[in-house]
Every structure is written in structure tokens, then in C-alpha cells.
């Protein structure tokens, strides 16, 4: 019998051995990304709580930078919350994909792809919001300069 990859005309698209191995690898790497991100957030929180971030020195040319750094604790906490939300979807994708493949659970696998979709949707929306914010800030700064 020929390799099933050649017989796709007669079968529906499915998760053959290669596809399953790829999905398991994707899930493993996604889990690594989540763990690394969470460790990073914990380190960030430790830095904030121990007051590790030094104040920006006031000198010529640093005035604008200081304006940015004015509320770094709040922005760090907001970034961590957003990061946790994004990585939550990635974690759910990774864990559900792995169990779906290993247990041959179609429903679990479908839900994992749903979480992967939400992961990319959330990242894209947040990036769009950041872009809009940067454009508005740049416009306000330019108007102030004029």
C-alpha cells in the first residue's frame, strides 16, 4: 500500500504520524515559552517589590525619558497581567494538544486549536492597540513640539 501522504485524493485530511509528531513538538515548545515567560514575570515582580529599578538621572537630554519612566511600576504590572492572559491561552493549547494527541481525543484537540486561535487573536489585538497608542502619542508629542 502506498504511503498515505500520496493517497490524499481518496482520504480526508487528517493527523497522520508526521502531523501528530509536529503538533507534539509545537506543544512542547509552546509549554517552554509559557514557563520562561512566567519565570520572567516572577523575576520582574521581584525587581519591582525589591525596588531594583533605579531612578533615571536628570541630565541634559533625559527629560523625555524620565517622562516615560514616571509610572514604570504600573506599566510593568499591566504588562505582566496582559502577558499572563496571552500565555494562559498558549498553555491551554499546549496541554490540550498534548493530551488530545496522546489520548486520541478529537474534542480535546479541537479545543486546543481554539486556544491557539485565541492566543494569536489576543496578541494581534494587543499589538494593534499598542500601535494606535504609539501613533497617538507621537502625534501629541509632535503637536506639543510645534
Amino acid at each position: 500500500m502506498q504511503d498515505d501522504n500520496q493517497g490524499h485524493l481518496f482520504t480526508e485530511l487528517g493527523f497522520d504520524f508526521t502531523a501528530r509528531q509536529h503538533i507534539l513538538s509545537i506543544a512542547s515548545w509552546a509549554m517552554i515559552v509559557v514557563v520562561v515567560a512566567v519565570i520572567g514575570y516572577i523575576l520582574n515582580l521581584i525587581q519591582i517589590l525589591t525596588g531594583g529599578k533605579e531612578a533615571v538621572p536628570q541630565s541634559e537630554g533625559f527629560g523625555m525619558v524620565d517622562a516615560f519612566a514616571g509610572n514604570s511600576t504600573t506599566s510593568s504590572v499591566i504588562s505582566i497581567i496582559i502577558g499572563l492572559l496571552i500565555n494562559f491561552f498558549l498553555y491551554r493549547f499546549a496541554s490540550m494538544a498534548r493530551s488530545g494527541i496522546n489520548e486520541l481525543n478529537q474534542d480535546q484537540l479541537n479545543k486546543s486549536f481554539n486556544n491557539l486561535k485565541f492566543y494569536f487573536v489576543t496578541m494581534s489585538v494587543i499589538l494593534m492597540v499598542v500601535f494606535v497608542g504609539i501613533i497617538l502619542f507621537a502625534a501629541a508629542f509632535a503637536m506639543k513640539a510645534i
Binding site: D4, D16, F17, T18, S25, V36, G52, N110, K117
Partner: protein, 143 residues
């Protein structure tokens, strides 16, 4: 015949193909936006190098060679980061395209290649994340 399809194996049913297609579509959008942002940032550094370095140097330092060195460093660093991000997003965009095309054409090989590209994306992302974490831990220890 571990690769032969049977009703006991996982299939790419309607729900799975819709979710994967949507995930691929948004992944492609994300990749495009990140590439665009990095390109714009690089352009900004090249065009406004002097103004940017004035944020970090005094006017006397700007007149000296430190200003030029910082501009070259900024552009070099920007190109390096841009290259890495470019490779990362190319995996994502290629993977997303191939997965969607594989689903539309019911092409198992194309679909598997798309999954392979997506695997490369997450692998590179994971390695960069680990390196970033190690660097920040080193920074913490040096404080």
C-alpha cells in the same frame, strides 16, 4: 501501516479545520504586523539617528565621536534584531500560509509542512525566550 487512516485516528474535522484556519489567519496577521513594526523602527533609527542619540548623550558628547559610534551601534543593533525577528516571523507566516492552503486543498504534505514551520517558529521563540531569561537573570545577579 502506522500512517494509514482509520476511523480510530484523529481527523481534521470541520471544527478543527475552522479553528486551525482562523489561528493561521491571525498568526499571519501578527507576523505581518511585527515585521512592519520592526521595519518602521529600523527606518526611524536610520532617519532620526541623531535625534535619538541626543536622548542618551550630552551635546558635547554628540559633537564628538561618541555620537557617531552610538548611531552606528543603534543601526547595527537594529539590523541584527530585525534579522532575528524577520526569520522568526517568516516561520510563522510560511507556516500559517501552508496550513491554510493545506486545509483548503486537502493536501496532507502541505499541511504537514505548515505544521513543521509552526514548530520552527515556537522552537526559535522558545530558544530566544530562554536566552532572554538567562540574560535578565545575569542582570539581576549583577545588581
Amino acid at each position: 501501516m502506522e500512517e494509514s487512516q482509520s476511523f480510530l485516528e484523529l481527523q481534521l474535522d470541520k471544527e478543527a479545520s475552522e479553528n486551525l484556519s482562523e489561528a493561521a489567519r491571525w498568526g499571519k496577521l501578527l507576523g505581518g504586523m511585527v515585521l512592519g513594526a520592526v521595519g518602521l523602527l529600523l527606518l526611524l533609527i536610520i532617519l532620526m539617528g541623531r535625534q535619538l542619540t541626543s536622548l542618551f548623550l550630552t551635546s558635547s558628547e554628540m559633537e564628538g565621536s561618541e555620537g557617531d559610534v552610538l548611531i552606528i551601534g543603534l543601526i547595527g543593533g537594529g539590523v541584527f534584531v530585525g534579522a532575528i525577528v524577520g526569520i522568526l516571523m517568516s516561520f510563522l507566516i510560511k507556516g500559517a500560509n501552508r496550513i491554510r492552503q493545506g486545509i483548503l486543498r486537502k493536501d496532507q504534505i502541505l499541511f504537514n509542512n505548515g505544521l513543521a514551520n509552526l514548530k520552527n517558529y515556537f522552537a526559535m521563540y522558545g530558544i530566544l525566550g530562554i536566552l532572554g531569561l538567562l540574560l535578565s537573570m545575569l542582570g539581576l545577579l549583577n545588581q
